[in-house]
Amino acid sequence: MGKTLAEKIFDAHLKDEPFAGTKVLSLDRVLCHEITTPIAIADLEWRGKDRVFDKDKIKVVIDHVTPSKDSKTATQAKILRDWARRHDIPDFFDVGRNGVCHAIFPEKGYIRPGFTVIMGDSHTCTHGAFGAFAAGVGTTDLEVGILKGVCSFREPATIRVNLNGSLPQGVFAKDVILHVIGQLGVNGATDRVIEFRGPIVDQMSMEARMTLCNMAIEAGGTSGVCMPDMTTVDYLWPFIQDEFASKEAALAAYSTWVSDEDAAYDKVVDIDVSALTPQVTYDYKPDCVKPVSELAGSKVDQIYIGSCTNGRIEDLRQAAEVLKGKTIADSVRGIVSPATPQIFQEALAEGIIQIFMDAGFCVTNPTCGACLGMSNGVLAEGEVCASTTNRNFSGRMGKGGMVHLMSPATAAATAITGVITDARTI
């Protein structure tokens, strides 16, 4: 019997099995941000164990509220900053160089096929796009990760989602993943890894694969995962060219981290996306998904384009393509947050920032900001936001506010008309 990618990674990283069914894995990456890490740091200090297991495997960013908006967030940032300096952690990203964690860490080449990755953040599943096992954890798991470089898991079964057919023009990875979550339900993948396979995934860029894996948690999944291939190697090449003689050699090495054809799956879901149309959420759960056409005409107050789901350069390009030469409706405000400084620079160089500004968008620095209602675009009670983020919980972007999740193209079209709009009709 063959093995899934997740099983292979578990085998290769197994450090201990204290009880049957409990796997304690060694970690390749422990990622940290300023919301969930400071209490772990404080607890380590309190225990007299202010140490890190490996300063080169720990990567740190201030991203949720940055630059700090008040003294509380400034304190969180300071605790993280002081700690990173105290332990000489080389990869620490502060104001001016910081971006959304799940965008900046892959961009720096930190995530590789076969890696185990944890972070005190539920959307850590994003990094599975590289063929890694990447799971969000709480602060206690993070604390033990920082101190010991290990984390415990129940070995997850895998749900294989085959994405077949061909993706129609104007339909994107975000539409696909919203559709998949609609099919699986918000707890359809609890204690499972979601493996994204098939010709659609093969043709996708790393950015699009990250959008897919990012939302695995919205179906309850432990990690999303894609098989590493030449697209993965091309993306990582600037960071790995000294390790391998050629891209082919890198690909051969990474092919260890692919599920076997005869691997056993908990479930296999086949989805033909050829007839898929742009999707949008309604209500307050991410599995409440409908075609945009069914919600077309609903009024919104704010448009938000950004986040670890859809704040990457490809996303900004897709939105800019719709916005080019147009202005947003008087009734709405538009906010765009390029997810990292590099993405911001690329968008500047390509004239995309100009398009957003000409259209009437506010361009913010890279940050999570509005996504979780902590800064930069919080909604007032009763307001509605068309958003490229990943969570539409009640109050997510501000108490009493409502969020519709959608692709960057749909968000851009909605900005122009002020009501939910299929970009293909613009």
């Binding site: 009880f19 949720h64 602060t139 415990s152 918000v186 707890n187 609890t190 902590m374 109050g395």
Partner: protein, 176 residues
Amino acid sequence: MQKKFGGSAIFLDRSDINTDEIIPAKYLTEVTKEALTPYILEDLMLDGFDPKGEKLKNATVVVSRENFGCGSSREHAPWVFEVNDVHTIIAESYARIFRQNMFNCGMLAIELPKADIDQLIALQQQGAVSVSVDLDGQTVTAKAGSEEKRFSFDISQFDKALVEAGGWVEFADARY
């Protein structure tokens, strides 16, 4: 050190209660657990539920439905229960990160089948429900008025060890 479990129960009869409802993101700027205390379940969408009410104030056990604690990884969700003396949650199922966070803090996230939860919820009609937990016997006993119901639950050896050790930091520290 092992925490105390059981006590008077409050019923949150809804599935998919998420972490934003348990503790909204705007309070994640606090850097101590204690500071979270007043904000427990502040944004919960549930008819008739009062986050400032006596019922919640007196409760040390929460009973709920499927996929409890879905959403964010924030351990602030278990912590806000912990600082409000709610160390026992009983539900049909949990989101993975929330469940792990509960055991990592040395608290109990007990899973019971839907039929048992139905019975527990129905017990409210007899009056206030008080729950006791026998960790070794793996049973939950609920009493209301003159009625008493007993349910058995499964707990993995690991989760039990975490509860006995007082949490994952203690367990890991002793072992790795």
